[in-house]
Subunit: 235 residues, 6 copies
């Protein structure tokens, strides 16, 4: 985990925090409070941008509309807006450090970050996961690290998380992740590690992704500070 | 209920349908399908605009943020956007008869209606219920009738709905409604009949409001057609 | 007036200044210059947001359109935009301390304030007075004080202002104000003290409202600084 | 005036009506009603787009701000928005045949016209009169005729209107108008015939401009129909 | 090619036309005229939406900025806007049948199509090719066919186009295309057939893609009409 | 050239840099890098706003559409957007010191400047050159100097640049420039010095324009610093 500590040296680099939608929906006051406090403290050290997933909220609206035969691209529109509702919720908790709305384009998120805000985004466009949004945003603002806060697991495992013999991986290369995602799609499905687009952006711009257990905001805070934390480092 | 049938005579008048958020959140495919089909059939007869409430979705996000001390006006922003998510869901089900997005101002909803669409709105502004939105929209587009689709009750009662001796009212005047709302706030709270702003708009522009059980879209459809249905007519 | 001086202690709190439309329309250069200078000086002490009323400009356009049978909700759209013209005028006078446009949502006004600007708003939405806008904005940005600058009167009186025996009230509670507005609607009409929505926001969030004579910008400036001034304190 | 009657033959061509701001501000209900009725009747024959001037409303806000030293380009912003208030007023009177807002770009006005609406614009950009807006819009939508409705005069005169010996000109060429405007700037100032930009657009695209007395909406209506009316034809 | 003729039977289905950026940039008047005329004629038969690529224009701006070290996600922003310039050019040629602007979201393109326009889009979001935009749009509006107009080749070949022994394929399955793209990336690069995202949308929604030589607008027109044309049918 | 050095004294005044479109289109990496570095260094001294012309990019799209009979006002829309593409390119090079988009109104450019950004604009509105945009922007933000960076010439000459006997003018008055532009329109056409609207804004607000050879960004930088450079000073 040596690479990570070098992050501490360049503490002024921006960092992007991707939050699993399951951390935010349904909303829990205690969690939101701890998350807000951690992000506010950490934002004194380096610029932070946040991307919220849609989670169960997204899935229940999409699932209902799919039964009606609504086309997939419009289901994506639904999911994007569900993720934006989670993003709005977090931005209201962070106001006045965040603009009190879900930012809807990379350009305005990059602009808000340049003004000293903590921009919060949800989904962007049909066909793109919020993981890909996080990597695109990191690329746009020059972040070399994305912290991917998962719900209920501590990082990437070499097997189904929780099953006997599954071991948390401390570090994986882009190639290993690609193989993991390709070979074990059910694993990917289980905790939404990464999709193909996100992975290819990470690789082309050498952006590292640190997977951590997002249920503990203190862990996210320490990761932002560049401390060594339990999790998996990709890249 | 004579007044209602006269609506049939002027079938080209637009009508506004207000849907309780509890009908839409969490979303149910079977209900959405029946609602969509009813609205599409009825829209052949007269122009229809729809306003969706935020319901439980709105309440759970607001409640979490309130615990964090987020100010009430920003909680309203949260609720407005939750109602817009419900509106988006319905607009996607209605597409291409509805623009595939939640309309965010009276002006654009009025414009979409004038173009032959079925506009769907959510919340508008802090301090305003979606009931008030429905009445404002009705006023703006010249609708003389708002159909207020309730969740689980058949209209306005002279006591707590479901309790012994409570009787469904067939017709109430604006004055009687004002008294009901003022005297029995808990009743109002129970099924969100009306708020003060909505009521005053209804009165100043002589807009009638028909409360019906929204769980049966066929009932909404018949009400749009101007048929006599079980419910309560205000005005 | 002890409560007010405690404001001086927490001088970094934002304050919202509501300006009667009659102060701004028709526009007077000398008044605008004095107002601009006072606001700029006072803004060195604490963040300021401004809400402009529509005044006579609003009334003359609305009155003409009402004769044509334009619906009330669209008349409100007219009034909102008239108030925004007054807001634009003031924002141009304040540029570059204010963004050179009338801000149209609470969210963007809150964002501009967080960036160090003096945001200026006009009306927001049908059914809402600019008094309600001022209270909503105060609530959104965490202001505990709204300065309500009246045209030609020095505050709230216990009778028609100017008539024999009418006495300026130094302090009124929310309950007393509610009674005043309810009992003497003609008084309320006379100098637009407050409407029901504005009052209920003030009460739920314990926001005090200081009514002063807006014809003297120096008075507004001193009130922003937390000094004791002639006027009426609500709350 | 033969050229004009040939317009009747190509009745489906769009026409742009430019209204002097003095016709609209301060607003007069009787005038607005007659204007609305004339425009609605005439719009059955050919597509109509409208451009409203700022008039006295524009001038009084600009004059006050100029005394404060606000730069000219921002004064233009003020004037543009004053003209838009007049445009909004007319669009509300025309709703639902007009979108209920002042259109702010040529592109959206052209789009609204293509949808069958009567778009109403105010000012566009600093440095451009509403006469130039009218000619630009005519050019964009392929209108070969602009009806320039003046306040209180019947067209273009060979001297100061109203003075002895001044004669209404039935027809002027682009060259003659240029000479008139250049030689008698005070005449141009007197009733805002044209500016250099507007004139050069008219010439490059062979758009004729018919100056009429806008105080009589029936005259505007007849001119739209291609009838011979009192006035001056440019081009 | 039997499947294609069945398209003729359901002529009211919308169709999406994807134009290679190389057909549009640099712009050629004769080509644009022929394309416009073909699209206008064909649009009488069925609703048409268009997506324009960025082509050489996109590549030259991106290439210059890449040398400056501008991050890839912002290079995508550059490419998106270059494609939108091509889209604007075509939309101006099609006006008033197209809104005179490049549409920037699926939602507004879908809305414009539902209003009877020919919407023209460019790029959408970082990380997404205009091929993926075309497939997303097709999915959103319920189009079962995308016509992919290539520059200089007649469809998909089983080897490098133009080289000895390379044969035009009449039909390829989704699986075969996936293999082609994966095995011969240089082929894909050569004439931008498809990317992974576009292909997966085509497959999940059973949208067929017909590759034709876009240099002949008459061919595009015949393909829209459902006629048998030289080219390659995917799906 | 005494007047210029006095600029150094008031170094905090904003300055507007107008870049000929020929400097930016087609884009050249080396030039963009040098320009970016010069602007970033100079922006430490005083606020800078930039306006980019459309250049050859604009002309080729306009020329193609003109052959199709697209009206002049829509050709202007094309040119405005071509200039915005150049503006976007430069803003991406300058990010995060510039918002990563072409600003589309004077108001937002003025607001961005007030926030400490380097706003970059392209065209504004039909009928207006980017020279006029630069002067309007200067007027709006209170800049007393516009640096007009030309492509391939060093300033204003008393004859066709490059021809025998043509001499670079060190200083010209507004009156002399007006005569130059009027008498030698072909000269003006040759290197787009100024148009009538731009000149009249410069004169009414006493804004000086310094024409320099934009091919050398170091020259632009020195001019921004208020140093004496080769070129022509207007005003």
């Amino acid at each position: 985990m040596k690479a990570l500590s070098s992050d501490a040296d360049q503490a002024a680099d921006p960092v992007v925090v991707k939050l699993s939608g399951r951390l935010l929906s349904p909303p829990r006051a205690a969690y939101l409070r701890a998350l807000r406090d951690s992000l506010l403290r950490a934002s004194a050290l380096r610029p932070i941008a946040v991307v919220a997933g849609g989670g169960p909220l997204s899935r229940e609206y999409i699932s209902a509309l799919r039964e009606l035969g609504v086309p997939e691209a419009l289901l994506d529109v639904m999911g994007i807006n569900a993720a934006r509702l989670n993003a709005l919720c977090l931005s209201l908790a962070l106001y006045p450090r965040a603009p009190p709305r879900a930012l809807a384009t990379l350009e305005e998120a990059a602009e808000a970050l340049a003004r000293g805000f903590i921009p919060v985004m949800g989904g962007l466009q049909p066909g793109q996961s919020t993981n890909a949004v996080a990597l695109s945003l990191a690329e746009a603002v020059g972040a070399k690290l994305v912290i991917n806060a998962l719900a209920g697991v501590e990082g990437v495992y070499d097997g189904p998380p929780g099953s006997e013999g599954s071991r948390l991986l401390e570090r994986v290369s882009y190639e290993e992740m690609e193989a993991l995602v390709a070979k074990n799609p059910q694993v990917a499905g289980a905790y939404e590690l990464m999709d193909h687009v996100a992975l290819s952006i990470a690789r082309r711009s050498s952006i590292r992704v640190l997977f951590v257990n997002g249920e503990e905001p203190a862990l996210i805070e320490r990761a932002i500070r560049g401390e060594r934390v339990v999790g998996t480092l990709l890249g």
